[in-house]
């Protein structure tokens, strides 16, 4: 399969700060890829390099086989970028702004039908003649997505598209982005909503301090870092006793709750059996499976 995006040993230094530190990463055509990481991890710098807004200090970036610096015009034709900030031109309405944006890419009036289709698919029809200033935050976000699509790019990059968006609109945007991916667009998403990445993306890259710290399919990542915990509610004063009975150093206490980290699921029945044998009453219990959020916190070192 053709590579849609390739980062080849990319570095970016701002004064002394290494914003991106030797990232090598390829994204296949048609992939739905999530780039995760805490604030300042280097996600936006990486995206801005793809957009040609930031020039790498070292290495190269290509989109659909075109180097973003040497063949910038072809590379920019191939990518539509939705910026993180809600920026807009206050002089124009939605339709005018979209037509201008298409025009910058050499699209003439024959493209207006596509612009109208994008407007309709993003539920912007009623607001298409409204000045950008008068739109709500959610509507501005939709207009920004529409702007990235007007020149029909094969690669779409969304830098936190659902930040500050209500639940209903977020769901609508997810469906829309999912449809674009099914139509064959390569999607790259940065997000703080890990649920978003887990639900939508088939591959995830996690960044910390300018480096990729994990890169795998969502399924493998969950499998690789997955852990199961047994959470049981007992009487508080049993801590020392329980430590002796179970003989397991790896557990935590949080008030009445005891959390045992399991190596395998069968360990849970052994723990319950030991507690029963020692006549310790179990008041409540649950089996917890780690999700993307736990993996993210583990890998990015955020607590």
């Amino acid at each position: 399969m053709k590579k849609a995006i390739v980062f080849n040993n990319v570095k970016k230094t701002f004064n002394q700060l290494k914003a991106v530190d030797g990232v090598s990463l390829s994204i296949e055509e048609g992939e739905f890829f999530a780039l995760l990481g805490p604030n300042g991890a280097g996600k936006s710098t990486l995206i801005n390099m793809m957009a040609g807004l930031v020039r790498p200090s070292n290495g190269s970036v290509s989109v659909m086989g075109f180097d973003v610096n040497k063949e910038y015009q072809k590379a920019r034709h191939s990518v539509g970028i939705v910026p993180q900030e809600l920026v807009f031109d206050p002089f124009f309405n939605v339709r005018e702004m979209l037509r201008f944006q298409a025009g910058y890419f050499g699209k003439d009036k024959s493209n207006d039908k596509w612009v109208d289709e994008v407007i309709e698919r993003l539920d912007l029809t009623e607001k298409s003649s409204t000045n950008m200033r008068k739109l709500s935050g959610g509507m501005k976000r939709r207009a920004l997505i529409a702007q990235a699509l007007v020149h029909r790019p094969p690669v779409i990059v969304l830098d936190e598209p659902t930040a500050g968006v209500d639940v209903e609109l977020r769901q609508k945007l997810w469906n829309f982005i999912n449809d674009l991916n099914k139509e064959g667009h390569t999607i790259v998403l940065t997000t703080h909503y890990l649920e978003e990445a887990e639900t939508l993306c088939n591959r995830i890259g996690m960044m910390r301090s300018g480096k990729i710290v994990a890169l795998d399919s969502t399924k493998n990542l969950l499998k690789q870092f997955a852990s199961k915990n047994l959470k049981v509610r007992l009487h508080k004063n049993n801590f020392k006793k329980i430590s002796k009975i179970i003989g397991m150093p790896n557990f935590e206490q949080n008030n009445d709750w005891y959390i045992f980290k399991l190596k395998k699921v069968s360990d849970a029945s052994k723990i319950i059996e030991k507690l029963n044998q020692s006549k310790i009453q179990i008041l409540d219990m649950e089996l917890i499976e780690s999700d993307l959020e736990d993996i993210f916190l583990k890998l990015t070192g955020k607590n």
Binding site: F14, V54, K74, F100, F105, G106, Q147
Partner: protein
């Protein structure tokens, strides 16, 4: 992908957007400078009209009009490109241009032509109002046009440099208040430099605005303080130098791309 046709459409789209941008706020971008020009005209002609004759056989009011037209043209050409860029930078919507395949030359020409058009449009409005009151001959129309074009282009390019360099509105205001305004006021709009003491005459020759206004006025009357060809050489040289600097800034992404 990105054929010559695509590039022409891209440049035309940006030019159209820039023209529409100032036209949407024509009350501020056209009506206001026209009214200012007419006020200067009324006040100076009332106060000095009958007392002064700068060029032989030419009434002071008639002498004043070309200078005022050119001053407004220059100031508005500067304002168009500078305000468009600084606003786009501060609002953040400059990103919509930077994400496109528009080359630095396409950006340059679209902003430059829009600046020239606005300057010339304001100048024509003042001219049309002025000829209601006085008979204003145009002896060499080509000189009028070439100085209007080069002057508007020079200031459009200067406006782009200011717009790219500045990152706050007060820095932009400083350009207007401390560079454009003094240079245009001291350029011979309201007087002939021959009426100044010798030292000020010499200093005036270092002011590029003087050549733009003097050459433009020559197109109307066939009379000027200095040779119109020298003025044309100096104005076109400045235009080329400032265009070169602007193109270099756009090409390198100075203060636009990190």
């Amino acid at each position: 992908m990105n054929t010559t046709r695509d590039q022409l459409i891209g440049t035309w789209t940006l030019l159209k957007k820039e023209l529409l941008r100032f036209w949407r706020v024509a009350f501020q971008t056209v009506a206001a400078p026209v009214i200012s020009g007419i006020l200067y005209l009324l006040i100076f002609s009332q106060v000095l009209g009958d007392r002064l004759e700068v060029y032989e056989g030419i009434n002071y009011l008639v002498f004043l009009i070309p200078g005022l037209i050119m001053m407004s043209l220059l100031q508005n050409s500067f304002s168009n490109s500078s305000s468009s860029l600084i606003q786009a930078k501060i609002m953040g919507n400059i990103v919509f241009l930077l994400l496109t395949p528009l080359s630095y030359l396409q950006l340059f020409f679209a902003f430059l032509i829009a600046a020239i058009v606005r300057g010339i449009f304001v100048g024509i409005c003042i001219y049309l109002i002025a000829i209601f009151y006085v008979d204003l001959p145009v002896k060499y129309p080509w000189f009028v046009f070439i100085f209007a074009f080069c002057g508007g282009g020079l200031m459009g390019a200067f406006g782009m440099i200011a717009g790219i360099w500045a990152h706050r509105f007060d820095q932009m205001a400083a350009f207007g208040n401390f560079v454009i305004m003094p240079l245009s006021m001291l350029s011979g709009v309201f007087y002939s430099i021959h009426s100044l003491p010798e030292i000020w005459q010499t200093i005036s020759h270092f002011n590029p605005f003087f050549y733009m206004i003097d050459g433009f006025r020559y197109g109307f009357f066939g009379q000027s303080d200095t040779s119109p060809y020298l003025s044309l050489l100096i104005v076109s040289s400045f235009f080329i130098i400032l265009s070169f600097i602007t193109i270099r800034m756009l090409k390198s992404g100075y203060k636009l791309r990190n």
